[in-house]
């Protein structure tokens, strides 16, 4: 099997499933972690990811199809999406796609799914659609606070990795988000986001 990507918590391999291209996402043992903690984390995340990836799909969000889950080695075999991570696209494309990302996140939240790791490398652009991947830190939650945690992370990533286009991206993202959840809910989440930010170390408290 060919190694496609060494991610933060899992390795991604190219594989075949019923003669179609697929990827194998395997959470390997981390030697630096205490073994019982390591075991628990890898197993828990493999189960959560495979469950929620399918839930997200039925919420109308583009995600890969899960083919097979193997809890013995904490691996998931799933459909390969041959798209480009949004992170690697041009600034003008990222700005434009921010709205679709907002729509996708809105759909997840509307259906009680918190993604948990909304970085720009976890959205793939493929055939004019946004695919959401990497549900390892996902949870089922309808709590506005959890949804705000999601949005804050996305904002933090825009601020750090895409600083120059941050303002417009964030605006577009919110307009997509509120088109799904309504402007009232969106405003509520925005307030919660600034509350989380104000809890940050040495944040300017107004």
């Amino acid at each position: 099997m060919k190694l496609l990507k060494k991610g933060a918590e899992a390795d991604i391999y190219q594989t075949k499933w019923e003669n179609t291209n697929a990827i194998l996402k395997i959470r390997k043992k981390k030697t630096y972690r205490n073994s019982s903690l390591d075991e628990k984390i890898r197993k828990h995340r493999t189960i959560k990811e495979s469950e929620i990836i399918s839930q997200a799909k039925s919420s109308g969000v583009h995600t890969p199809l899960v083919y097979f889950v193997n809890l013995k080695n904490s691996s998931i075999t799933m459909q390969q999406i041959p798209g480009t991570p949004v992170h690697d696209l041009s600034p003008s494309q990222i700005t434009k796609l921010s709205k679709s990302i907002g729509i996708a996140v809105g759909k997840l939240h509307k259906n009680g799914i918190m993604h948990g790791d909304l970085t720009t490398s976890n959205f793939l652009y493929f055939q004019k659609n946004i695919y959401v991947i990497d549900f390892g830190l996902s949870q089922n939650s309808i709590k506005p606070e959890d949804h705000a945690v999601d949005l804050r992370l996305f904002k933090e990533i825009l601020n750090s990795a895409h600083a120059k286009i941050m303002e417009t991206c964030w605006k577009n993202f919110l307009s997509g988000y509120s088109s799904i959840l309504g402007s009232k809910y969106c405003e509520k989440i925005k307030i919660l986001v600034s509350e989380i930010e104000s809890r940050g170390r040495y944040a300017q408290v107004v």
């Binding site: 060494k6 991610g7 933060a8 918590e9 981390k30 030697t31 630096y32 972690r33 205490n34 019982s36 903690l37 390591d38 628990k40 984390i41 992170h87 948990g116 790791d117 909304l118 970085t119 490398s121 830190l137 945690v149 992370l153 933090e156 990533i157 601020n159 750090s160 990795a161 600083a163 120059k164 989380i196 809890r199 940050g200 170390r201 040495y202 944040a203 300017q204 408290v205």
Partner: protein, 327 residues
């Protein structure tokens, strides 16, 4: 160029002299006096500032003697303008202002956290690293982009240093408690399940603190061991996520908690997996010191002329990602 740096953000009052030529700097002296609260207690800002006031003349003169320079030889003075404890910050600023105005030496307020990073870069030789800043005041993952240090991940509540100190104090240790916890942790290998909270590249420690206090009532060693394993694994995971997202091939660890061997060991393993170089600031300069302030002041003097006395502020909340770095 000869610079004097004065650090007084928290429990340390320190003065240092560095000689800078081109891009290299040589630390001529770095003298510190550290305020020690009673066992089981944290820093009392008023008591700490009193300690700094009482010790400042001695630290300053020792620092100059050791470096074998006179005040009039100095090209600039820098002090920690924040973030930190207000009363403590003011002591360093007063010393700096007095010297600067009496001897007419240019003065520079410096961000303490940037100081940790810049001194780390000077001492380790890291070029373009992902920085893990772990101390009593900070737990942050940073990378440099467009003239500013950008935050790629941080704690959403308390810092790693606070987590260790507050737990340590609940066992009656003297702050800072990191070393005591590390020692006690090495006597156990019994892992007790504790809350593990990584949110994207961010971490949250408050739940872990409460849970560990409960475990600590049963068995101190197990609690220390499990606390270190859980908290450091969270940090290591956040580092892995940030490394893979930023594609940096260097990791540099700075700040007081950088002295912890178990944390270093874990991060070394992370770097091996990601083919990144691992840099950790030398033990002596991991904690707060005048050198970090002095070196940053010297770097700033490349592009700035210093500030007038009426602009020599101190501020308790001064996030490092709000500082423009022009040098």
């Amino acid at each position: 160029m000869l610079g004097l740096g004065i650090e007084s953000t928290a429990h340390t009052f320190s003065c240092a002299v560095i000689e800078k030529s081109g891009k290299s700097g040589k630390i001529l002296s770095d003298v510190r006096k550290i305020y020690k609260p009673a066992d089981g207690e944290g820093i009392h800002p008023r008591e700490a500032s009193r300690h700094h006031i009482e010790n400042s003349p001695q630290v300053l003169s020792e620092c100059l003697n050791e470096a074998d320079v006179k005040i009039t030889d100095l090209d600039l003075i820098s002090y920690a303008g924040g973030p930190g404890l207000g009363p403590c910050l003011r002591v360093g600023a007063v010393v700096a202002r007095s010297l600067a105005s009496f001897y007419k030496i240019p003065i520079y307020p410096v961000n303490h956290a940037i100081g940790h990073i810049e001194l780390g870069k000077l001492l380790t030789g890291a070029k373009n690293p992902l920085v893990l800043l772990v101390s009593g005041g900070h737990t942050m993952l940073l990378a440099f982009l467009n003239k500013q240090w950008r935050v790629f991940g941080e704690t959403l509540d308390i810092t790693l240093g606070q987590l260790l100190d507050q737990f340590g104090r609940s066992l009656g240790f003297a702050s800072p408690c990191g070393r005591n916890i590390e020692e006690l942790a090495s006597s156990s290998s019994n892992y007790v399940q504790l809350p593990y909270s990584v949110k994207g590249n961010d971490v949250s420690f408050s739940g872990l603190l409460s849970a560990t206090k409960t475990v600590g009532k049963q068995n101190k060693a197990d609690a220390c061991y499990s606390l270190q394993e859980t908290a450091f694994a969270m940090i290591a995971e956040a580092v892995e996520r940030a490394l893979s997202f930023t594609q940096k091939n260097e990791l540099m660890v700075v700040g007081g908690v950088a002295a912890n061997k178990r944390l270093s060991e874990m991060l070394q393993d992370v770097c091996k997996r990601h083919n990144s170089k691992f840099f950790v600031v030398p033990l002596k300069y991991a904690g707060d010191c005048g050198s970090q302030i002095c070196w940053t002041g010297l770097l700033e003097s490349q592009v700035k002329k210093g500030v007038s006395i009426d602009k020599t502020f101190v501020t308790q909340s001064w996030r490092l990602d709000s500082v423009k770095v022009e040098y």
